[in-house]
Symmetry: C2
Subunit: 454 residues, 2 copies
């Protein structure tokens, strides 16, 4: 059998985990694997960037899981500094530009994987291109932000209080900067949490010394000699040496769309459960694709390394001659802001309203450990239950150390369509150093079951 | 309707949570509730005793969740220092002895709850009644052990390396004692963990400076003037100022058996899902009953506050005019020894052998956090999978801070009869401070799925 040629566009989590899994299953005599990456690095942990900026993860290269040289040893050829500018699905070729020289060449493929990722939303506001207005998406972004701080930046504005926004705020506060967080919604993390839970995150930001401007859209950026001087937001001019944008992301699906590959209403490449696109022999995974939310049935773009890695594993298995499917996601996420851990899964009460679903929302206050055990901290668990059948549809958890990962048993319960009544009697673990005798998850399920009956 | 009379035998978790739940549902005009407790206290957290001895929970009274006075305010009458010595199921009376005076009286009931708990196993060994040979089951035990240490005890022997054994060892080491742990099996925690996992606990005990004697049965206790001088075990005489027995427990079912109430092969009172015994109007809950293991179908006595509380809630609901059932348990447990957290659920590989079940056992090494994030510690996850259908039947987790509670998503998966293949793609939470991009649970499920296919 002649050697087949697999080309991969994008050298980050989705593309490289696809390549690695395909290589595990097929040797180089069966499958040639070549990846093209626009940037200078492969497989880096973007989620770790705030912690590099904070100064607790060093050096930045520690965030690189695997280098091109390491891939080469596994017979996976990676060309960094190469941008793919066109896909011809009929001829089965790519147009590739070597960025250093500007040379364009054509590369042929038998199978193609698109792992182009996502880009930060960057609205066309006045002054947005001033030096000092930045995102935190690449290792170079992290190094740049670290340099700006080291060179004496004193005042920072974080635009958007989502996951990245609060993680960056933590980092900047830790580095001693004066931090203002500007958020269009009424609370931090308002798009993933219900208002009652989100307000706790807002409070934590303020308690940590950040100024939080809510209901405030950014109107523009003022600069002096091309360098950022202030962020204009909520009718105010906030002096700033640096501004970090955390306004969410959009799937990089333009290249695929240009090749006639189907892109969905959420802006991501449409794939089936095997991660195959609408074009023969063309596959895609990671931040650039749409995934099915198992709870709502909706297609959505969720830019998160855990999905990219799973999808890459599935895709690589299928390319390697196996058979695997990606079962969708349920919107599970976790983060922390200083000592506060925040988790969510499934739908929120706000989602239910949007969908017109009849749900019962219940909130339970508990502790992370037995009340008498040192370090017991408050934890709030909010559950969203289907009123018709008592099924758990979503959960939010906010609390001290140990609270965040409590979203996991709830995620498995949502995944398995477990009812809150059953969960309230489920055999979760108990010992004073890690749980009260009624574990917060079990306790909250009991409250939800009672609310459901009343 | 005339007031009915509910008597409760035992003022700890099962009995008092029953009483509390019944009271929530029925006022004193409908239901009189009277409880008899042999000891001096109600509703104390026995699981917290090692941490009182360790010196991190003080005073001991902090372990008492609710006092008789607090129950009285809720119209629940508690008589401490009262032992029930007989049940007449035909006459619907109890024989009650007031311990201080020795007076016996008869009390009548319409409904009876037995919550007599369990007692520590105390083999009839020579010298076992010497002063200084003790258990750690009551608040008074804790106060006594604390006093012995404060008065200068230097050398301690812990007999049995189960949950209590390792928790007591942690406490005694923290208090500066020389500690020997004597265990009949080949490893610490050998009855709840597989040998490969249990050996990590043994190693941790030794690393912490404890002497661990394995395969060593206690032959007796040597004393001087009635006070413990040495523990004879494994053919050696180990000098000791104090010995703490942690040899497991037996259900206190003798009182019930004496009244003709059915007791099962595991030694516990037999109850149905509503917590009703074989005798009309007689109910039971907590450490004195047998519960159904949902994975094996076996009846077992599991002395753990979390079950006692749930069963009390169920029982109280049924007595209060509602309808509730206890769905059984799956053997979930967690503990820690210093920085090592240990969790388990479902069956072990050893259980599978005993049952003659065809399983695949898989072990996966991972980290508690992203590898580059400070405080990332090793975690080992072992999964037991049904070879015929890929269903997860059990799990064991051992690792650093944050490892223990990772048993909970696994417990929900076992409870819901989830397959490892599905779990390997489940949407669990990810963020560098709390998880690697492949969460240890998801990663282990992936390894198990691969082992299953090969």
């Amino acid at each position: 059998m002649p050697t087949k040629r697999l080309l991969v566009i994008g050298g980050d989590a989705a593309g490289m985990s696809t390549a690695s899994q395909a290589r595990r299953m097929k040797g180089p005599e069966e499958l040639e694997i070549v990846a093209f990456e626009r940037g200078p690095r492969t497989s880096y942990a973007a989620c770790g960037l705030p912690y590099f900026v904070e100064g607790i993860v060093e050096p930045a290269e520690k965030l690189v899981a695997r280098t091109p040289e390491q891939f080469a040893k596994r017979d996976i050829e990676v060309h960094t500094g190469h941008e793919v500018t066109g896909i011809d699905t009929a001829a089965r070729t790519l147009e590739v530009v070597e960025l250093a020289s500007g040379t364009t060449r054509s590369e042929s493929w038998d199978e193609l994987v698109i792992g182009t990722g996502a880009s930060g939303v960057r609205p066309p506001l006045p002054g947005i291109d001033s030096a000092g207005v930045m995102e935190l998406r690449t290792v170079d972004d992290g190094i740049e932000l670290d340099r700006i701080i080291a060179e004496g930046a004193k005042r920072a504005v974080v635009v958007g209080a989502g996951y990245i926004g609060i993680e960056v705020a933590e980092a900047l506060l830790a580095r001693g900067l004066e931090v203002s967080v500007v958020e269009l919604a009424d609370a931090a993390m308002a798009t993933t949490l219900d208002p009652d839970m989100a307000s706790k995150v807002t409070d934590a930001l303020r308690d940590a010394g950040a100024e939080v401007l809510l209901g405030a859209g950014v109107e523009g950026f003022e600069s002096t000699d091309g360098r950022l001087a202030a962020v204009v937001a909520g009718g105010r001019s906030i002096p700033a040496d640096v501004a970090v944008l955390g306004l969410g992301v959009r799937a990089n699906s333009g290249l695929a769309a240009g090749a006639g590959i189907e892109v969905g209403s959420a802006g991501g490449i449409v794939v089936d459960e095997r991660m195959h696109t609408s074009a023969d022999g063309v596959w895609a995974a990671g931040d650039c694709v749409e995934s099915r939310n198992r709870v709502t049935g909706e297609s959505m773009v969720v830019a998160l390394g855990t999905h990219a890695n799973k999808q890459g594993r599935v895709l690589g298995t299928n390319l390697g001659g196996g058979s695997a499917t990606f079962p969708g996601l349920i919107g599970t996420a976790v983060t922390k802001f200083r000592g506060l851990e925040i988790g969510r899964t499934g739908i929120t009460e706000s989602d239910a309203e949007r969908l017109g679903w009849d749900v019962v929302a219940s909130t339970a206050q508990s502790k992370t450990r037995a009340g008498y055990y040192p370090g017991a901290e408050p934890v709030t668990v909010k559950l969203i239950t289907d009123r018709s059948d008592g099924r758990l549809l979503g959960a939010q958890v906010i609390g001290g150390v140990g609270a965040g990962k409590r979203i996991d048993p709830l995620a498995v319960a949502v995944w398995c369509e477990m009812g809150v009544e059953e969960l309230s009697m489920a055999d979760l673990s108990y010992a004073p150093p890690v749980s009260p005798v009624w574990d917060p998850v079990v306790f909250a399920a009991g409250v939800a079951a009672r609310d459901l009956r009343s």
